[in-house]
């Protein structure tokens, strides 16, 4: 490790320790020192909990108080922390997969056909202008409280993001490269597969990083509005009991999920785009 890196790491750890310290004891300290009117209510554990109580709630929600409970939780299908995480992850992944697959397909087709793009263009712009969250209740009405409505919500959020990027990427393909492929005997289909798709892939991946986060947001919003299980449902339940520490536990789990999903997409990206200089180090 170079000196520079250890300096960076030192400061990062210091900031973490300071944040945790203020979070844990800041409210009590300021209450002891400051006049009542100046005590920062934002630090009130009623709203933001405390690292110690969050840890405690984590052990309880995650059935980690004793081994037997943990094993029991893994095998039960009431909405405990692990079960809820798995459900949310699963729905996010399927929504992301369907959303990006259909977005790429639609983007490629409309990107290659100017006529079709002109015809359906206004409809796509109109649909895209609807705030996605507004139609979540409608989706739940249609698909019920189960997983399907969550997958559909994630799908509709992901689709447009990926579609627009794929469309632009398809339009930006080098015309001379297309001509070169043609002169080398490529049919329209072969050219699409061997030139347009790989060339547009950089654009597609630029949208997949935000898309995977959007998929997670979509699923959680769906779970907020109407669900039987999942991490969003856990938050709503904790809110009903005004339990900030439980909400914090779920939020932190969601953060880990978000990082994990972004990491997977990033690895896929650096493999498929290894011909681009910025991904050289991963080859």
């Amino acid at each position: 490790m170079s000196a520079r890196r250890s300096v960076i790491l030192f400061w990062q750890l210091l900031i973490l320790v300071m944040l945790l310290t203020v979070w844990q004891w800041g409210f009590e300290w300021s209450k002891a020192v400051l006049p009542r009117a100046y005590v920062p209510t934002i630090l009130d554990p009623y709203f933001i909990a405390k690292p110690s109580t969050i840890w405690d709630s984590f052990l309880r929600l995650g059935c980690l108080k004793h081994i037997g409970g943990f094993v029991g939780c893994l095998h039960s299908d009431d909405n405990n922390l692990w079960f809820a995480t798995l459900v949310t992850l699963k729905n996010t992944w399927w929504g992301f997969l369907f959303g990006s697959a259909s977005g790429v397909a639609a983007g490629l087709v409309l990107g290659r056909s100017i006529l079709l793009a002109r015809i359906v263009g206004p409809y796509i712009v109109a649909l895209n202008s609807i705030p996605r969250i507004a139609i979540v209740p409608l989706i739940i009405l249609m698909f019920g409280l189960g997983d399907l409505s969550k997958i559909a919500t994630a799908w509709i959020v992901v689709f447009f993001v990926v579609f627009f990027n794929t469309f632009e990427g398809t339009r930006a393909v080098d015309r001379d490269q297309i001509a070169a492929a043609r002169m080398l005997g490529a049919s329209e289909w072969a050219m699409l597969r061997t030139v347009v798709v790989p060339s547009a892939l950089a654009w597609v991946f630029a949208s997949l990083m935000p898309a995977v986060s959007f998929a997670l947001i979509g699923v959680i919003v769906g779970e907020f509005i109407g669900a039987e299980r999942g991490l969003g449902k856990l938050i709503i339940e904790a809110e009903a009991r005004a339990n900030a520490s439980e909400m914090m536990v779920v939020i932190l789990v969601m953060m880990v999920l978000g990082i994990l999903l972004a990491f997977v997409v990033r690895r896929l990206q650096s493999h498929l785009l290894r011909w681009q200089p910025q991904f050289e180090m991963h080859t």
């Binding site: 490269q177 001509a179 070169a180 002169m183 490529a186 061997t194 030139v195 892939l201 011909w275």
Partner: protein, 286 residues
Amino acid sequence: MTLAAVSGRSPASLTADAGRASARTRISAAGLIKRFAARGGELTAVDNVSFEVREGEFIALLGPSGCGKSTILNIVAGLLPRSGGRVLIDDDTVEAGKVNRKVGYVFQRDTVFPWRTVEANIGYGLEIAGVPKADRAVRVARAISAAGLTGFGDSFPRTLSGGMRQRVALMRTLIMEPEILLMDEPFGALDTHTKLDMHKTLLEIWERERQTVLFVTHDLGEALTLASRIILLSARPGRLKEDFDVSFPRPRDPVALRETAAFGELYSHIWHSLGEEFRRTKADRP
């Protein structure tokens, strides 16, 4: 002209391009016209150009920038529709958008696929055509060594120099064994030294395989080095101006050839004619 002095080889081994006049016509353009829509009207880029290219000829289409020479090439390749006239390859009329399997094309711009390795780039056409992997590997390996790219087979194009990338583009086309080769200023973006290297490689290949070549360039030295005949176009609108036979003996050495008296003579002769067109191009500019 002393042939032996040019290449330093014995006259017996020399094959001049003369005597090929009786060979069959491969490309024939008659009354070719191309107009483009321009601001407030039409711009005539190519005006009534007719020429013929015979089997095994290496024709350089020479002219100042904007004279329509690349346009002519693109029409012959079927990449661009024409506004008038006719183009035949063998006995088939060229139609825009229809690819002729006998024709290979090398672009001026770098059109190597950056997401494919050197091997995968060169093998592209064979892969599309469904040539079995093992067979393809053998032919690609041969092409790589012919292009002097040994050791770079699994490199991605971004790690190569401009000259090496253009070698990949050249071999990607040549591996398809086109009978007719169309080249649009393929070495235009390269520095002088790299260009001479490319001339050497191209001459080695062409002098062995004798494809029919139509080569667009604005570089007189390049045209004289490579071609067996030079077709000189006028400044815009492009019209046929003159036709020169370039009968330097082969095999040619691009460096040694430039030092010969014959090269110098023909150079200044054509330069005189080309210079007039350069001046006209300049005068045209607002």
